[in-house]
Symmetry: D2
Subunit: 308 residues, 4 copies
């Protein structure tokens, strides 16, 4: 389908349900997609960090895009991550996900290597030149260990290299600089990756949000988005605070036993499993699974948020 | 060929020559391999960081391993990097490089994701269980943003998960802890990834070295290795200092224009080109090429080291 | 004077004007204080990071507090930083600044040492036990290299150790966790240290702001505070955006020649000098002074903001 | 006494024994000094990181220098740390410690502030210009969060600003660059701050070592220094490995309960207490004390090293 310009609203980074032997569980994935569409989301982002893209083999990545596009590709735009270390490898993913039907690609700065802003600019330009679909920059310093400078993003927005920014940096001041600077570029979409300050981001002019927690509670984020657009700041704040309380489920896993990805992604999947949306809460290797007690903790957060 | 146990000596991480349009230049690659073999190196490590593995497409990675194994696989052990973000993706590379003939695989901790020592241990155990060849851990915090703890390495050495360690952490004290702790494990190989303290590493008991600069001057590192093994510490130190002076070529690129990978890998390739070993000094995208002046600077370092 | 509970509104971290030979320029300091009071600010924070507290000798620190308290101590609360590496040294500063008349002290986590949340809690508890005035925690990871965890702040707020938080971490989501968690603690004051998202911080429930830029434009921040409290979100956003544009003056210094403190503090002082408020724009050693061209750049930002 | 030029040998950073109420325990301090002198050390470094300088009040710092200088100032050179955030504050410490009799001062890069190499150079030049005694640079990135670049150190060595370097960076390759570069500067002293690679550092040309563990086992480090100078590399390595095994006592404290400073400094003091040299193992606030079990663990390391 035609990619909206700018893209606005709630764009969940779709979790990738797995079978117990760590293959993509397509029926669960499609049920999750239905759950999101029914919740009113405005687009889908597959193969992002919350999708465990970093853990999926190439054939699994392809299967995810093909399955989701075939299922809802006519209803909703489908963005796909093309997450890899450098330009040539990203280009191979761009080719694969667009062949599979993605309407846009989402690309980070290079990682693993020691990079430089000039190289990051070159990276995005080469990818945009080769991509048949719009390119959205993905600013995620916790993963790639560099921050996209606001002036670089705005330069690449102005010259048409980038169609948008998904900002998972946690730096609202830098995000605001892009939002404000992109006012003269009405087709450029500025999206926050935060779960916790979506109301703030929309209030200062963001186009939308890409919250991982929207997998668990799409209705909540869609409600929040509507309240913000309607200018009902008080009810927006209350809804945001309910979602902030729910988000604490990402800390369910014991940090002495596992890393942050295991805990957060494990909790999202445990919640989807407890809500009956996916068949199995398994996360990809080498992540450590939540224990029964940790899963129970997730359930308590769901209950407190009225989701069980 | 049978993988030596332990692996010792000089094991260059082989640069990957590219054509001007960034395809693997196989004739240049084989000339480089001949240059290294003629220099007396003890094994070859392809698809490491100095090989630009992070920049090579999967089909290019496969071509490198196949070409090198076909050319010298009967003479020398060929180690291959299986560099990717997480266990499932690394396993696909392990399958590919061993199908292409690699004698051992070299694997980092997970990256991009927020990981934990328990997950790193799980990662190496799953890979070792699936790999048909020995697994060598690659400790490179500058790239993966976590450090392999010495006690974890020793635990995985003791239970047979790991056949060796390539330590590019720059932390000689931590390296020593592994060297000392592995004395009771005679088949475990402890290799330094440093160019600059090979003499120190060998003096405290390391089995060998994997210096990127050995692409440029394999004879120097082989000489250094022999002097160390012969106990001729003074001449070893002099040789090491000559190589330290040469190593400054990695700073040839202007840090205002490019990142550290562009400068260092660009300088290695410029040196190989100036020495007439490879046809083209191009590095992979999005790296910034050295300017003529920067290349000239590389030439001066070569001349000063008696290599031009 | 009695310390307000909670403290609300605009609390500028007061710059410390210096003479050309780097002594405290008391007349300029008092003119700056008058400018701030005339601008309508609600309290003053001396000896913070923007005050160059890290650069001031103990006798200079004392002189600053005494001078400001004597000048306006009956009109406005005066908070004073007690910035040092560890508990015993901070306690000496607490004694000095309270003897000089400070109404509250502002204290960071320990730095230089390798610390731990348990030690940070112990630090604040020991200081609160000894301090005759309220203690406000200062969360500034860019300086002290650890982040105050929200749950720790809330624990210390609940048990009465802390009277408030000044958050200069840039992490609005973590800030929100404290704001929300402190709702049941009406005497605890939550202040943002940001210049750029004051409107967002107040909208989610913050009590006030401590923006360094309020030295240059106190009227702007006081206006912003009033618009936010009046619920006039659109005009608040416009005022905030004007201040964001002005804040870019902190980048006036060339990063190839100087560090971020030199540039930002130098620009604040250049602006105060250009506006005729202080006699000399000198910053403390070893900071690099702005060049005439860089100072001219500061002037352009002032002119664009209608402040010249 | 005249400061040796260059300073060579073993220079322990002297622990500061405290009474149970955290005052300097002068009798224990002098017993510790006697123990070090009797062990054969070549100079003493008071008010370093291992001395808990970051935790000592100014009057305590002064008392330490005065007491040690009065006790052994005619026998041995006494170096004193002047550890503080910026130039003006460091200058006050320089004045205090030299008035108290220090023969040299040891100074880090600025910290807390966002600094720059140009500012670091300015910092050392201003301090050297004002100091009546030689200035030694202290490279300790774990505390100050910047690394002294080798070329900057060499520049400041060549122009006479610095009389030496104490390198606690853990980066032996960078250390080597200074050692090699300073060969033409025979009066400049290059000292490693490592406990674990003293043999390596001396082998590549270092002048001496400043190991915290030498508080506990001065005889061991003096023996190691002698073996290295005698060229007896095998016995030097064995002695170094014995000291490496002993050094593991710094991990006695549970990292879930305390930070690295509490554990390491607590273990040094517990060892000195167990050996009967100091009266009380207390560390300064807010450090967490070792538990009886953790202290017992320290005792086992001492016993294994033949020190109990």
């Amino acid at each position: 389908m035609t990619f909206p310009s700018p893209l606005t609203g709630v764009v969940p980074p779709v979790c990738t349900p797995l079978t117990p032997d760590r293959e993509v569980d397509v029926p669960s994935l499609l049920r999750l997609v239905d759950h999101l569409v029914e919740g009113g989301v405005h687009a889908l982002f597959v193969l992002g960090s919350s999708s465990e893209a970093a853990y999926l083999r190439d054939r699994q990545r392809r299967l995810v895009v093909e399955s989701v596009v075939a299922h809802v590709g006519r209803q909703l735009p489908v963005l796909a991550g093309a997450i890899d270390m450098t330009t040539p490898r990203v280009l191979d993913h761009v080719e694969a996900v667009t062949a599979a039907g993605a309407d846009a690609v989402v690309v980070t700065a290079p990682f693993y290597t020691r990079t430089h802003p000039a190289e990051i600019a070159r990276h995005f330009r080469l990818i945009a030149a080769a991509s048949p679909v719009p390119v959205i920059a993905y600013d995620i310093p916790v993963a790639v260990h560099s921050k996209l400078p606001a002036d670089l993003v705005l330069e690449l927005a102005a010259d048409g290299t980038l169609a948008g920014l998904k900002d998972s940096s946690g730096d609202l001041a830098g995000f605001r600089e892009v939002v404000t600077g992109a006012r003269g570029l009405p087709r450029f979409s500025v999206l926050t990756g935060s779960e916790l300050v979506v109301d703030s981001a929309l209030a200062l002019g963001a186009d939308g949000a890409v919250p991982g927690l929207a997998n668990v509670d799409p209705h909540g984020y869609v409600r929040l988005d509507r309240l913000c657009r309607a200018g009902d700041r008080e009810r927006a704040r209350a809804e945001q605070e309910r979602l902030c309380a729910l988000f604490k489920l990402v800390g369910a896993g014991d940090p002495a036993r596992m890393g942050g990805s295991s805990s957060a992604l494990g909790a999202f999947k445990a919640a989807l499993h407890l809500r009956g949306i996916i068949d199995c809460p398994a996360t990809a290797e080498p992540q450590v699974p939540l224990s029964p007690e940790e899963t129970e903790r997730v359930g308590k957060f769901l209950a407190a948020a009225g989701l069980l």
